[in-house]
Symmetry: C2
Subunit: 324 residues, 2 copies
């Protein structure tokens, strides 16, 4: 398997982010287990400063920059959590951050990014057009591009999540039998694969995508890289339309299985987390649990790790989910 | 001022709970500040294992018991968070926990308490009748009563929250000008008063109650102990009808001001926390912020500490709040 990062990269990322991010809890909820028939260990990355695991990715990226790069400033295209992570890390480290979002981007996410001091540029009709503008700014202003997925330090940041999870599960009386991981760009999936190879070689790892944005899922089953025309899901953290160069080979080789879940299942997973854990999740943040729901038959009786990876759901979407 | 606990009691409680509870974050949200015109530091006790500050109170109580008392087991009457804290602490320490709840108590809270291994007894029409049954069990079975408020170790547990808050605010560039604290039984208020006397003597501390359950608020303004006939608020953590022996004298002497907020203001505070911080709060958990809203004129431009003290809101109540 040719992974874009080594386990040593993960250790280095942990050391770099440790001054800024404390480990998040890994918790078990009897009421959740009883509903599912699967014993679930929930990794609470919703507790991180930006309420999303992307804070790890961004801080790992920022702390790996050379002083000269920090001085130039960072630019990224994002729909939200990647940008919020960069803005947060930039504020702490004194690095100027410019974020390109498409017109009509979620106003709560825009406000959060501005709140951390980022310069927000609304440009283009969708993510791809915003990304093209970010690339222009790299050319014109010499800014350093922070890609949400195709970056080794970003992926190593996501991997710190699973290094923590594996270590914490060592203290669990029943251990860990599998991980179910949401796939947007694939940084979490690669992080799970690289760390599991060290901590629990051979343990199954399942991927989950939204059925309306299933390019990587479809590619995995077809064993060739496919793109989809649309990314139609309320889980904007999963709204990708293609595979990514740096994560695709490892995902293809390293996942045990890959399921696609419809939006109503993502909504049901959000409601289940609210009801049994009283934690807020956005669609992508509940996707790991939605995958457990989809894989319930084969995971029955096992102990499964999932990440509550983000909580940045807006009030209108939450109301729709609750009415589900 | 005759406080029921000393600062040394708080230090001792911190040492006892430290192996089980890590400090919760103190965070500032630019978007929240911008909406309020007040700079708010949010203490995230919603991150604790039972999603409520009562985990501190319960663990402080449990770890102070003599081995002989632990062996007898603990009983308490509760509507939810006190019982969940005791059940959680009891499971960790191997202490049997019996919880008396009134008939019709919130089923999600009952499920959470049972999930931590507590024996749940449904008895009586309201909290007072459940409490009477708990007292009978003390007589009949020799169980140790864990009162939610009238207990020095419980109050010292709540005070650890404010010791942390004060220390964390030392690292804040703008410091801390005031604290606004929700009052159910008063353990938080006494904790804030005792710790502030050490860290920032003379700093204002304001109390908040629900307008529909305002006994302690009314008593504070009347300077005599009053009871109210009903506790009518959706914030069940604030639904008390009287003052408490152990907290009342300190509250009377130590608070700078005391406001009562109507349920729609509590609901607005929950929505504001969702919108600007993407953290879930129950009614009592948002009451500190509701107090800031009520005191906005006089707190304008200041830095104010509030506790997001609990997140255990059920889905039906959350839907009502969002529709607000």
């Amino acid at each position: 398997m040719t992974a874009p990062i080594t386990f040593e990269d993960v250790i280095a990322a942990r050391a770099r982010i440790a001054p800024y991010l404390t480990p998040t809890p890994l918790r078990n909820y009897a009421t959740l287990d009883a509903e599912l028939g699967v014993r679930v260990l929930v990794k609470h990355d919703n507790h991180l400063p930006t309420n999303a695991f992307k804070a790890r990715n961004a801080m790992s990226f920022m702390t790996a920059l050379a002083p000269e790069q920090r001085a130039r400033g960072v630019v990224a295209a994002t729909r939200g959590n990647h940008g919020a992570g960069l803005a947060w890390a930039g504020e702490l480290l004194g690095v100027a951050v410019t974020i390109c979002v498409p017109h009509g981007n979620n106003p709560e996410k825009n406000a959060a990014m501005r709140g951390f001091g980022a310069v927000l540029i609304e440009h283009g009709r969708d993510y791809d057009e915003a990304a093209a503008h970010a690339a222009e700014l790299v050319e014109q202003r010499g800014l350093v591009l922070a890609h949400s997925t195709n970056d080794r330090n970003v992926i190593a940041g996501a991997a710190t999540l699973f290094a923590e999870l594996h270590e914490q599960a060592l203290h669990d009386p029943k251990g860990l039998d599998a991980i179910v991981v949401a796939v947007g760009g694939g940084s979490q999936a690669v992080g799970a694969i690289v760390t599991t190879a060290k901590f629990r070689p051979g343990m199954p790892i399942y991927g989950v995508q939204a059925a309306g944005a299933s390019a990587i899922h479809d590619s995995w089953h077809a064993k060739e890289r496919l793109t989809v025309a649309d990314a139609l899901t309320f889980a904007d953290g999963l709204a990708t339309r293609a595979t990514y160069d740096l994560t695709w080979p490892t995902i293809l080789a390293g996942l045990t299985g890959f399921v696609a879940v419809a939006d109503p299942v993502l909504a049901a997973a959000i409601r289940m987390l609210l009801r049994t854990t009283h934690n807020l999740a956005e669609g992508a943040g509940a996707a790991g649990l939605a995958g457990v729901i989809a894989l319930r038959e084969q995971l029955m009786g096992k102990t499964v790790g999932v990440v509550l990876s983000g909580a940045n759901i807006d009030a209108a979407t939450l109301r729709t989910v609750l009415d589900g």
